[in-house]
């Protein structure tokens, strides 16, 4: 589903963020990108949702070269990708429900349809009582759940999460991971950039380690999760 061929990314004047990355990620995989700060995790994610373009190399998503997309194409691509960030990136003026529904509305779902979808998702994620709350009145864990609901409201083929548990305590981080696993069950490919070794050990089925922009390791393992089948 995702193919990277000799991808390089250099920031001016001469900072090498990614160095000859070649990878293949299949549909439905649950991948952890790990490595120390500055290893290139966030840069790699940014390349995947076309926030940035590689200096060299090609990235194919479902066989499509995403570097060749025009602006309209990038918008279309992002409608198929769910994004979750450490700092949540929710609109403070909108309610939890409106934040989630916004993502559905931009793909052309009607107002009622978007709100219904958003309501069901928030209920599923345990935020039934909070759907009219504004993000700043919610706890960090609750805000992250709203962000996750927004990321999956359009049933994306790919979910990218950049340090999604960075601002959460251990218990909530664990809960967030279980949500990602649940989302994966729908067939969504999930890539999480994280340096939380505890979580990686417990949940990672494929762990790609980056160091100084290189792929240092690419491990695949079979993991049994509590509560999972």
């Amino acid at each position: 589903m995702i193919q990277l061929f000799h991808v390089f990314k250099t920031y001016p004047p001469n900072s090498q963020a990614l160095n000859d990355i070649s990878l293949e990620i299949d549909k439905g995989e649950f991948v952890f990108l790990t490595g120390p700060s500055g290893a290139g995790k966030t840069t790699l994610l940014k390349l995947l949702f076309r926030e940035e373009e590689p200096t060299n190399g090609q990235i194919l998503l479902n066989g499509q070269n995403i570097n060749r997309l025009n602006r309209r194409g990038v918008a279309r691509l992002r409608r198929q990708i769910g994004l979750v960030f450490q700092e949540f990136k929710l609109l403070p003026r909108l309610t939890a429900l409106e934040n989630v529904a916004l993502a559905a509305e931009v793909v052309g779902t009607s107002k009622n349809g978007s709100h219904t979808k958003a309501y069901h998702l928030l209920r599923e994620l345990g935020l039934k009582e909070k759907y009219t709350a504004k993000p700043l009145t919610l706890s960090g864990g609750e805000q992250q759940r709203v962000a996750i609901a927004r990321a999956v409201v359009n049933d994306p083929m790919l979910l990218l999460a950049d340090e999604p548990t960075g601002n959460l305590d251990a218990e909530i981080a664990d809960e967030t991971m279980r949500m990602f696993l649940k989302i994966r069950e729908r067939g969504t490919t999930i890539i999480i950039a994280s340096h939380n070794l505890e979580l990686i050990k417990r949940y990672g089925t494929r762990i790609i380690s980056l160091r100084h922009g290189f792929v240092a390791d690419d491990l695949q393992k079979v993991v049994r999760h509590e509560g999972m089948h």
Partner: protein, 299 residues
Amino acid sequence: MKLAPLGFVVRRVRNNLWELPWTHVLTAATMATTLFVFGAFMLLQENLQNLLKAWGEQIQVNAYLDKSLDAADVQRLLARVRTFPEVEGVRHISQEQAWRDFQAALGAQSGVLEGLPQDVLPASFEIKIRENFRDGPMIEDFVNRLKREKGIALVEYPQEWVDRLSLVVLAVQWVKWIFGGALFLATFFIVESTVKLALLARRDEIEIMQLVGASEAMIQAPFVVEGMIQGIAGATLSILGLWFTFQWLRNEIPTFGLLGPFSQFHFLNARHIALMLAIGWLLGAAGSLFSLRRFIKTW
């Protein structure tokens, strides 16, 4: 650019106006202030133009007739003069009329005319010039052609006055375009900077819209519509401000020095008010669009 869904845009605009009232009020107020200056210039320029037109209407050429002409000759000459393209109207002043006018002009001193023959003053034509020909060289050319007409003894016109007026009209035209253009540009840049500041506070919103895959049209349309509303609101405020200032000046300053009584000045007409609203609308939309272009990252 594909059009954004109307319902989506209307909802976003309504919510934004409701939730960020002060941002919109401040932007509209800035637009109102700059458009007030622009409108004041337009008001001044329009009234000055009207004043010059009124002065121009007072320009007349006097053609004195040969005393030897009989009534039929005078009628023929009158018909001939009316065919000149420069002529808006001709009034025939007979010798008797000229005598009566002169007596009336002298008023209490008219006794000094006693003993003089009543045909001492020549008959004449008072010729009004069309607006397009009230220019020094054009009048001069007309006067020269008139002088060559048989039966016309002498032609007089206020040459110095005409030349000065032509110069003032020309100056006003130039000032109108140069100052008006500069003022329009200044208004545009002030509006654009204000909109940019307002957008700066909402850059997260733009970024998030981009991240969830909103099309350019969906991101820009609400901002542009909000800009249009701010522009029209600003223009309306500036027109109201101008109207109140105009009324206040009319009450406080009854005469305007050499320019005459204030009562002869008029407020902006419907065409100018529509123009102000259109400029506000356009500035709001263009200001938003230009500022957005800088905010929306090039993918």
